[in-house]
């Protein structure tokens, strides 16, 4: 037996610090909950945010080498940006627990511990190019998320959790199969070594790569809700509470995008044309089908679910294009989308009513918002701003992301893709505008302002205020943000 000796310095432990902080925080919270009963939800929220901010500090403050911990960790530019987005999004979504009405899940310390574990999972996904660690991160975060959805404790929430879990298990299986195939072909689970090995054997055998890619597309496609593995999205969004649904539309996807970026860019640049074609088809189908389905939705939350699928399609287009500009566009788009989406889902959270007064089936049917401007002008206007922003109306936030994305497509000579993106934005306007039409141009169904905003509280209003500010004045910080993003993305070679 050889003795294994490892130099502690070579492990580069500070790179693990961000994940360690949250893990310890979560474990500590569970321990405290064992001893102290009835912890207040404000305390739990604030302590969790504190840990998230500490984590954020550790992420930004890290300045060691990019490889760490047996080369399993890869702390490069996109890992950094993605972590910042994940942590900021988590820190601003979490205070949505402080709503006017009390919900069971937000009173339990477990929820917050799970929330922190979930973030650790996402972080593991983005700071690694090791297929096994990515898998662990994926599963940690997913399992925590399924549980948190179920904790909402409504029949629909259980349905959503189980649906998400079953489909997620299938996706996990796909992922494992794909990783297995790549390992079988190359003898490695590190993406960069897989790339080298595949290049060395000139991307043969094709069948193996095809199978690996298809399984990977299935697995990540599930996480990113790409057509055809998107069917869970509307039901899960509908069943989850609005804060979680909004969170799911943003954070798991950014983690998925980073993994997809690491994996698929290697495959797209392999020069095997059909790989690009598969991805192209997935992108176009995702954008278009989701958009068309969103047109006929009767529930705002389901509409937002389909629209988020379509937004994810735009992002996959950025990965398909694969230039520095398009990858930067992805992060820019997603940062701006995050705030607008946060605003939209917070508004849904605010107008949540205990009973489904407007429709038997749906909680937020369009009719609910009829004539809202006559009852609550400020609420209606703010919601309208979010809708127009999501539709890509200038000069609101998402427009600048879209602008940069289309321009990235054009600059890489993907003219048809650019036109398809543009046409899809035109289709998307209809269903976003539908809500604005209901709010501003129709007569109220129930002229009782007290039915709305039953869940509003000061923290929620503050969050909406921040989201509105960022959405409306996005133009002010798009330029500096773009510079920072470009710097980090190009530094990590994407």
């Amino acid at each position: 037996m050889e003795t294994i000796s490892i130099d502690v310095a070579s492990l580069n432990l500070p790179a693990l610090l961000p994940m360690a902080i949250l893990t310890l925080g979560a474990l500590g919270l569970i321990c405290v909950d064992l001893v102290v009963k009835g912890l207040n939800r404000s305390f739990l929220t604030m302590i969790t945010i504190l840990f998230i901010l500490l984590d954020l500090g550790a992420v930004i403050g890290y300045n060691g080498p990019s490889r760490a911990f047996f080369d399993v960790l890869l702390v490069d530019g996109i890992a950094l940006i993605a972590q910042v987005i994940i942590l900021v999004a988590s820190a601003i979504f979490l205070p949505l627990s402080l709503s006017h009405r009390h919900f069971r899940e937000f009173e339990m310390a477990e929820f917050y511990a799970l929330f922190m574990f979930m973030i650790v999972g996402f972080q593991c996904m983005v700071v690694s190019d090791n297929l096994i660690l990515i898998f662990i991160g994926l599963e940690t975060s997913s399992l925590a998320l399924y549980t948190m959805i179920a904790m909402h404790n409504r029949a629909k929430a259980f349905e959503a959790a189980i649906k998400y879990f079953t489909m997620g298990a299938l996706a996990a299986g796909f992922y494992a199969l794909s990783a297995l195939i790549f390992y079988a072909m190359t003898g490695s689970v590190e993406i960069y070594q897989i790339e080298q090995a595949l290049q060395a054997r000139n991307f043969e055998p094709l069948v193996g790569i095809l199978a690996g890619t298809i399984f990977m597309l299935g697995a990540l496609g599930f996480k990113l809700s790409l057509v055809p593995s998107h069917t869970w999205t509307p039901d899960v969004y509908e069943g989850s509470s609005a804060p979680l649904a909004g969170y799911m539309a943003v954070v798991p996807k950014i983690a998925g995008f980073v993994v997809a970026m690491r994996l698929f860019e290697m495959l797209v640049y392999s020069g095997v044309v059909w790989l690009e074609h598969i991805l192209y088809a997935a992108v176009v189908l995702t954008m278009t089908l989701a958009n068309i389905t969103a047109l006929v939705q009767e529930d705002v939350k389901r509409m937002l679910a389909f629209s988020s699928i379509s937004h994810a399609g735009f992002m996959m287009a950025a990965i398909l294009i694969g230039t520095t500009q398009s990858n930067t566009a992805l992060f820019l788009y997603w940062t701006l989308f995050m705030f607008t989406n946060l605003g939209a889902f917070t508004m849904l959270w605010i107008v949540r009513h205990r009973k489904n007064l407007w429709d038997e089936r749906y909680q937020h049917p369009y009719t609910k918002f009829s004539g809202l401007v006559k009852l609550m002008p400020a609420t209606a206007t703010i919601m309208g701003i979010f809708m127009f922003a999501l539709a890509g109306m200038p000069p609101f936030s998402v427009f600048w992301g879209k602008l940069y994305l289309i321009s990235a497509a054009i600059n890489s000579e993907y003219i048809y893709l650019a036109v398809i993106i543009a046409l899809n934005s035109a289709i998307a306007v209809y269903y976003y505008m539908k809500l604005a039409v209901y709010m501003f141009l129709k007569e109220p169904v129930m002229a009782d302002a007290t039915l709305y905003a039953t869940n509003a509280s000061t923290p929620l209003k503050v969050i909406v205020g921040v989201a509105v500010m960022i959405t409306v004045f996005a133009i002010v910080f798009v330029e500096p943000l773009l510079e920072i993003l470009t710097k980090y993305v190009s530094a990590s070679g994407f």
């Binding site: 200038p394 427009f399 289309i406 321009s407 934005s425 306007v429 209809y430 505008m433 039409v437």
Partner: protein
């Protein structure tokens, strides 16, 4: 008003931002204060124009990319773009992308179907803004972007565009004749007139373009005033149907007079503001093709037909409906809004020179630029031809 931004700003991205933003207030004006089918009209208007302009956005970004490829610098400033010679094939595509955005706004046949709904349902103020400002955003776009940026494509597509214009002129005039609603008559007459505006723009010479710009202005005054007048009568009677009127001249003499003047200006009676622009546009296009100009000229005759019939049916003859007997004439507030417009119609109709010479100066510069930028010999030849014969400028 967000529409102001479209005409002031040369940075093209901002142009696009304001272009889109101007839809939101219009959506609300039509949708909230309009007639019965206001929501359908507002949504149709919004979707049509939005769909057109997103493709224009792709065009704008592609243009920026071409500029970058040629010079190595990113720029979305229009003065920079003017200096760029765009390859011919790219011009064709870009012209198409911009054309869609502008043509839907103008609105050109066959993208005009949103306009009658929007006008029919919009409140008076909405119609005035639509006719006087919003439609001109499209024709402005042609003069500002399509012509100087893509001279070769403009010449390449000249005849098809001209044929579309003539269809607009004649077809819209015929529909206008068949309308029973006063407002729809004016709405369709707008389409008909915009046909002549675009025709003048594509004349590729100083007369035509200057005339078309002047016509944009005069049509803004005249159709705006006509919509205001319909608003006046709608306020009193709550109907816009021609058959509900008749003999109004006896009851409301001042109203009839102002209406008559505006109508004549709309038809293009010499010495009114409408004549100058229409005449110059047609004279300009005569150099390109006399037969097409002749066809477009019938638009003026048809215009006289439907407008005079409208006037005859609602103002002359005996008062048939008892409700109309007690109608009050224009009050001081209405007069104070309309008299300045009447004065403008007369003054600019008799002495349009100050305005024309100002417009002419910039148009001359633009034509020189187009001539310099042209790649295809056919383009240079056509610009030469359009500007030489009997040119006095």
């Amino acid at each position: 008003m967000t529409m102001v931004g479209v005409f002031l700003i040369l940075d093209v991205i901002w142009f696009y931002a304001f272009w889109e933003l101007s839809l939101v207030p219009m959506l609300y004006i039509i949708g909230a204060w309009g007639g019965e089918k206001r929501m359908y009209a507002a949504v149709k208007f919004f979707l049509y124009t939005f769909a057109g302009s997103v493709l224009m956005l792709v065009g704008i970004l592609y243009m920026g990319f071409l500029y970058y490829e040629a010079t190595g610098i990113w720029s979305f400033a229009l003065p920079d773009w003017y200096l760029l010679q765009v390859p011919f094939r790219a011009q064709l595509w870009l012209f198409g992308a911009f054309f869609l955005g502008f043509a839907i706004k103008v609105p050109m046949f066959p993208f005009h179907t949103w306009l009658p709904y929007a006008h029919g349902q919009a409140p008076t103020i909405g119609s005035v803004i639509l006719a006087a400002v919003l439609l001109k955003m499209g024709s402005y776009g042609f003069v500002r972007f399509s012509l100087p940026l893509f001279p070769d494509a403009t010449v390449y597509f000249l005849i098809p565009v001209a044929i579309i214009c003539i269809i607009m002129v004649i077809y819209a005039a015929m529909i206008a004749y068949a309308q029973e609603d006063m407002k729809q008559v004016i709405a369709y007459s707008s389409i008909s007139h915009m046909g002549i505006v675009i025709l003048g723009t594509f004349a590729m010479n100083a007369e035509g373009i200057t005339g078309s710009i002047f016509l944009m202005l005069s049509h803004g005054i005249v159709s705006g005033a006509l919509f205001m007048l319909v608003g006046v009568i709608y306020d009193r009677r709550h109907t816009k149907m021609i058959r509900d009127f008749g003999g109004l001249a006896q009851v409301m003499p001042n109203f009839a007079t102002v209406y008559g003047i505006m109508l004549m200006a709309s038809v293009g009676l010499p010495l009114t503001v409408g004549f100058v622009g229409e005449f110059l546009s047609l004279v300009g296009f005569y150099r390109i093709s006399w037969i097409l100009t002749l066809l477009a000229g019938t638009g003026i005759i048809l215009g006289a037909v439907y407008m005079l019939v409208l006037y005859k049916k609602s103002f002359f003859g005996q008062v048939v409906h008892e409700e109309n007997r007690s109608l009050k004439d224009l009050n001081a507030k209405e007069l104070s809004a309309l008299i300045p417009l009447v004065l403008l119609v007369a003054i600019l109709g008799i002495y349009p020179k100050p305005l024309l010479s100002t417009i002419d100066m910039s148009v001359q510069k633009m034509l020189v630029l187009m001539d310099q930028k042209a790649i295809e010999p056919a383009t240079k030849e056509l610009i030469m031809k359009a500007n030489s014969i009997g040119g006095t400028h």
